[in-house]
Amino acid sequence: MAVAATTTPKTGTTPVTAAPRTLRRRRPRPGRAVVNVLLLAVSLVYVLPLLWMLVASVSNLNSFRLALPDALTLDNFDAVLNVDTTYRPMLNSLLLCGFATLVTVVVSILAAYPLSRYRSRLRRPFLYTILFSTGLPITAVMIPVYSMFVQVNLIDSMPGTTLFLAASALPFGIWLMKSFMDGVPLVLEEAARIDGAGAMTVLWRVVLPLMRPGVVVVTIFTFIGMWGNFFVPFILLLSPEKLPASVSVFTFLSAHDQTQYGQLSAFSIIYSLPVVMLYLILSRKLGGGFALGGALKG
């Protein structure tokens, strides 16, 4: 469990060892207090915009200023919580992004294993190609994708759009997954192999459990990207009842309609909830968010 030992218990070990060290060796430096204050100041800056969103969503004042409301109201939530604006688009989003993330993660894991473990002349060109393609703005390819989807009759199809979303997230997913897999040492794997386990068994039983943080990072990264993707589903789905929340959110939010800050904020919160929940659930399984960096090393 070499890797687990270096990644997961970060929460516990580092501060415990770091703190006594400083205390023991030197006078109690003001350093630590400064560090704490500094970090709290950064947190404050970070939290302000989030705070504004929370306040604006229940405030009766329609303002971009961060101000305490005269009265609290749930009208904003009432206004957006209906089938057309929220429920159906959110369900579509969950279906599209959920399945697409699943496909991306599973396919990336499969692809990452040979890329991380075996030598081949094709490996490096393949890796570089997918690495470079992560810089491509996906909006650029949507015109040919549309034509292609029309030809193969995948236009306006949820599964088709799901597969495209999955494919568009794959380059980054594979690359990241492979990097994490590189951090998993071979010792245990070899032991399992000596016992006669096949490559896939080794991958699933030995390697994956050791790189859970990496899988979580890829999962969240993929899901966030898809959840916010507006253009792909907008182009590939025609029926309004199939469109995910990102499409209306994008129009809604980028219009900056100044008469509806409250509703926009309420909508933003509802729209962000699934991603936040996903993060909380996945990171809880790893004992807090600290281990998410996993073993991504050069």
Binding site: G160, M200, W204, V247
Partner: protein
């Protein structure tokens, strides 16, 4: 393990194909059903058209049993809406049977080969003669003179002014300027008499988009002596560059912003300033004059987000004067939307039949009254229900006589962007009027080609 995964992949693929097979049925159209695509904005008026069309569909399917009309609203920004319908119109499998477009875009889509000429239909439709000539021009192909759409609404532009502020500044109301100079005189007077009040809003800059071009610049440009030939000379089929009128109009913009007769430059150049003008500055009595559209009351009606019931008594309307008061004395710009049938539509005959039923006199009047737009049918324009729907309808309908439509050409988009850039640079003072005009000339030449431009004579 591996075989399980392969099975899973196969199942996924199979589901995808099966589902796509199902969906293909809904995207095409059979002989008894049509697909109608329109733009649904997310603002307070979002449901107006949806509800209106739904009632039209009900009426139509009742009169024509066995038919089916699928309404497909597209929720997106205006530009993304166009991207989407243009993609849909590229292939027979996804092309709608009826599509709703801004008239400014129609010529572009004609050139793209997306639309079907409707002459065969209009020839047999007696109501067609009721449509105003200018409105018909807006939906006529520039190169082949064929009709490509039925316009269902238009708009005009003029000067909205605050009568209370005018009286306070000592300007008598009702007020009707005769020349551009009259407008500036009034603005200067307000600036010196009233503090905390912005004298005049003139939309400017690229963030304002088409509002800057149309409400801001073209309201000036088409009022110069060259009139209808000030931006595009239809007889020569060439874009006008290097004209004196263009510089005069830019100079007006420069005067407004350099003398601080307009909003602060940073506000004016911000995205969405239009909403601020309509929902905040005007109702709060902080803006004395606003060159804006006939639709402004939509901001203040009881169904809007911030109703303002005093607007009828506070706000006055004046026509935009021509530069020196030359004939016809006033000018205006018009846009509007129209229904068209795509070239690759599966069921154009039924689509036309539905369109006819939506565009009867009664239904047109109802629609124009409902969304506070100006009528395109002359019989509707004199209809009391329409005229009484919004108190300003009579005034703005009157402006139709001297209105102008933008050149409905594919290149207009790029020319419009060039106009906005020129405006922005004189608004900020980054460039002189001469330099901004020269940049505009270059931009236009590189967008449409040297041979498609002509030097303006006035």
């Amino acid at each position: 393990m591996r075989s399980k995964l392969i099975t899973a992949a196969a199942v996924t693929a199979a589901t995808a194909l099966a589902a796509s097979g199902c969906s293909s049925g809904s995207s095409g159209s059979s002989s008894k059903s049509i697909k109608v695509v329109y733009w649904q904005n997310l603002d307070s008026t979002s449901k107006l058209q949806a509800n209106f069309l739904a009632s039209m569909v009900k009426e139509f399917t009742k009169a024509n049993p066995g038919t089916k009309v699928n309404l497909v609203p597209v929720t997106a920004s205006e530009n993304d809406y166009y991207t989407k319908i243009q993609l849909m119109m590229r292939s027979p499998a996804t092309a709608p049977d009826l599509v709703y477009e801004d008239t400014a875009l129609i010529n572009s889509d004609i050139a793209g080969g997306y639309l079907k000429p409707l002459d065969a239909y209009t020839a047999k439709w007696s109501d067609w003669s009721q449509y105003a000539a200018a409105a018909k021009t807006a939906v006529t192909g520039a190169s082949d003179n064929k009709v490509y759409g039925v316009p269902d609404n238009t708009d005009t532009r003029g000067i909205w002014y605050n009568k209370q502020l005018f009286t306070k500044a000592g300007i008598s109301v009702p007020w009707q300027p005769k020349t551009w100079a009259d407008v500036l005189t009034a603005a200067r007077k307000i600036k010196s008499e009233l503090s905390g009040v912005t004298p005049l809003n003139l939309y400017t800059g690229t963030a304002g988009g088409e509002a800057s071009s149309m409400q801001g610049f073209e309201m000036l440009l088409y009022g110069t002596p060259a009139g209808d030939k000030s931006l595009y000379d239809a007889s020569q089929k060439k874009w006008v560059v290097g004209s004196k009128g263009f510089k005069d109009a830019l100079d007006f913009v420069h005067t407004v912003y350099s003398e601080k007769l307009g909003p602060s430059v940073s506000d004016a150049l911000g995205a969405n300033f239009g909403t601020t003008v309509g929902t905040e500055l005007i109702p709060a009595g902080k803006l004395a004059m606003d060159i804006d559209g006939s639709w402004m009351p939509n901001n203040w009606s009881s169904s809007s987000a911030k109703p303002w019931k005093d607007w009828e008594s506070v706000m006055g309307e004046a026509a935009m004067p021509t530069q020196n008061g030359q004939a016809p004395g006033s000018t205006s710009m018009s846009g509007g939307w129209a229904w068209s049938i795509p070239a690759k539509a599966g069921n154009p005959d039924l689509a036309w039949k539905f369109l006819e039923s939506v565009q009867t006199k009664t239904n047109s009047a109802q629609w124009n009254a409902l969304n506070a737009t100006i009528a395109t049918r002359t019989d509707v324009a004199s209809d009391p229900t329409y005229l009484n729907a919004v108190p300003t309808n009579k005034f703005f309908t009157g402006l139709v006589a001297d209105t102008h439509y933008r050149p409905g050409l594919p290149a207009y988009n790029q020319v419009s962007t060039a106009i906005q850039k020129a405006m922005e640079s004189v608004t900020t003072g980054q460039a002189s009027v001469d330099k901004a005009a020269a940049t505009f000339d270059n931009d236009v030449k590189s967008a449409v080609g040297d041979d498609k431009t002509v030097k303006g004579t006035s």
